[in-house]
Subunit: 187 residues, 2 copies
Amino acid sequence: MSEILRQQIEKITPLTDKEFEYILSHFTTKKLKKHQFLIQEDDLVQHDYFVIKGLLKAYYINHDGKEHIMQFAAEDWWITDYQAYFNETKALFNIDCIETTEVLCLSLYNREKLCADMHKIEHFFRKKSNSGYVALQRRILSLLNSNAKERYEQLLQQYPSLFQRVPKTLIASYLGVSRETLSRLST
Amino acid sequence: MSEILRQQIEKITPLTDKEFEYILSHFTTKKLKKHQFLIQEDDLVQHDYFVIKGLLKAYYINHDGKEHIMQFAAEDWWITDYQAYFNETKALFNIDCIETTEVLCLSLYNREKLCADMHKIEHFFRKKSNSGYVALQRRILSLLNSNAKERYEQLLQQYPSLFQRVPKTLIASYLGVSRETLSRLST
DNA sequence: AGTTTGATGTGATCTATATCACACTAAGTT
DNA sequence: AACTTAGTGTGATATAGATCACATCAAACT
């Protein structure tokens, strides 16, 4: 159901059927089972991924083997290792599926081609990137300014639906708290 | 010396003299003394600012009066309260001058106009936003994964020139560490 | 059906960092 | 020249959260 991509783009700019068809022709589809990897550390990152169905996490594993979650992505979200993707370098993050997942894959080449061909797509991606930037600033502020409990509550408020689908252990790893501490935060 | 803006844009896309002149006509100039505010909390944020000369900080003040620095900006950097700027809402951050400063000011209206008129400017801003996104991810990872000393060293490595111009107290506030702790991190 | 694996809770410690308090120096102001 | 203000260092103490160690329960394999 790639309609969900169309809807996302049309929140920013209207499209004709033909235009959307053209856009879509630059994507491929990929299906993954729970626990399967989309990207592993040191892979060359070939694509940005738009989630049609399912749930994934992008995370960094440090030298002690501790995992820190950079982002989750469910339906209607984009996910990849952006540093590696934009710079065509090797992945620092791992990305794998928390649930069985279906994604649309966009190579950097096709992304740039689309942006060059269609001004409105470049506009779309600029707007998306701007929103993403602001969201990351919010997260940084939360890390700087708030304690574990406050961060938990902010996340709960911002993405309530996540909590039905993601185990607390992973929430803890996203928030930068140990799972034991998170478990003790009830109210 | 608006040439510095031109150079920044030309790192991404070439410009004719006429094009640059056209771009520049969408900016105004502003000069500020040390300690002067560019934006105060609850202001309507009218502009994005490109720093030609000087040094500023964008920071949040929490209910205890503690200040957390979101970003610094010296020559060749952009700064504003992006959340407020893009959404035309009131500022959450304060921005003031650490040094006497000169900036080029770009209203949202003019930014969008430029982006609509000149595909290459939209391209430029998309690229800048992408890089910014990646940089913020790096900072989040640093906050999640590293202790005070490691974060200090990472910052020192990434922006060595900052340390000549910014007092340690402010570095501490950027890193999310108390100034006392930062002061004890020597080596 | 039995067994491994994942998710979660909770007590007992440990530790990095915050906080409080004070001192010293340099720079800017009247 | 005296006085205020900003920047920095450092000791003593407090504390949020990490870590270690178990226990329980549910889900998923074999």
